[in-house]
């Protein structure tokens, strides 16, 4: 595939979201239609639970 990289601002936002997810249990929200990154939140409305990525206890 032709890989389209993140620009600096996008990379900083995504990095902050990932670290906030791991370190502070902040929830990452993905877009309802195409799963792209939307932002982070502390409170998740019920209808967005399915698109909310809570802190994932993964190996990586």
């Amino acid at each position: 595939m032709d890989f389209r990289p993140l620009n600096d601002s996008e990379r900083r936002q995504l990095l902050a979201a990932l670290r906030g997810n791991v370190e502070s249990d902040r929830v990452i929200l993905m877009d309802r239609k195409d799963t792209s990154f939307v932002g982070t939140t502390d409170e998740v409305p019920d209808d967005e639970v399915i698109s909310a990525i809570k802190s994932v206890p993964c190996h990586y």
Partner: protein, 145 residues
């Protein structure tokens, strides 16, 4: 107590599918673009979920396998879209998510709390890490102990 825990053939397996996994897949698919919905097919004694994720600008095709002994054994997810070799990527582009091959005690997969959609969300986070690693060469999250 049932001697078999086969996902598709045992009562416990069917109950798990009908009361937990299928409803959560249906909910995941609601309002989602068709290209990003989960497509479900039977594979042996288990199920295969095919779907796509796009954490940033790039779309990745993936599949998550629920083998016959799921949910006791965690789902296995691999990326079908070619990736560069990177940390936390196993043979066949399988994602190292739950420390495959570990004992149940050390596995991070908890069948009483997680569903197949949780595995998809874990894959999304892995791909977000990959997007950053691709540009910086550093995996952005520390390895869990």
């Amino acid at each position: 107590m049932e001697s078999s825990s086969n996902l598709l053939d045992s009562e416990a397996g069917k109950r798990r599918l009908l009361s937990i996994e299928i409803p959560v897949i249906e909910r995941y698919n609601e309002g989602r673009d068709p290209a990003y919905r989960i497509r479900l097919t039977r594979q042996g004694g288990g199920l295969l979920l095919r779907y796509a994720l796009k954490p940033a600008h790039n779309r990745y095709d993936l599949e998550t396998r629920l083998i016959a002994s799921y949910p006791t054994v965690p789902p296995e997810t691999r990326v079908l879209t070619p990736l560069r070799h990177c940390p936390h990527l196993l043979e066949g582009q399988t994602l190292c998510l739950w420390r495959q091959g570990s004992t149940r005690a050390s596995s991070r997969w908890d069948p009483s709390r997680y569903t197949c959609v949780f595995a998809i969300q874990a894959a999304w986070r892995w791909l977000a890490c990959y997007e950053i690693w691709h540009e910086t060469g550093d995996w952005p999250l520390p390895e869990a102990k």
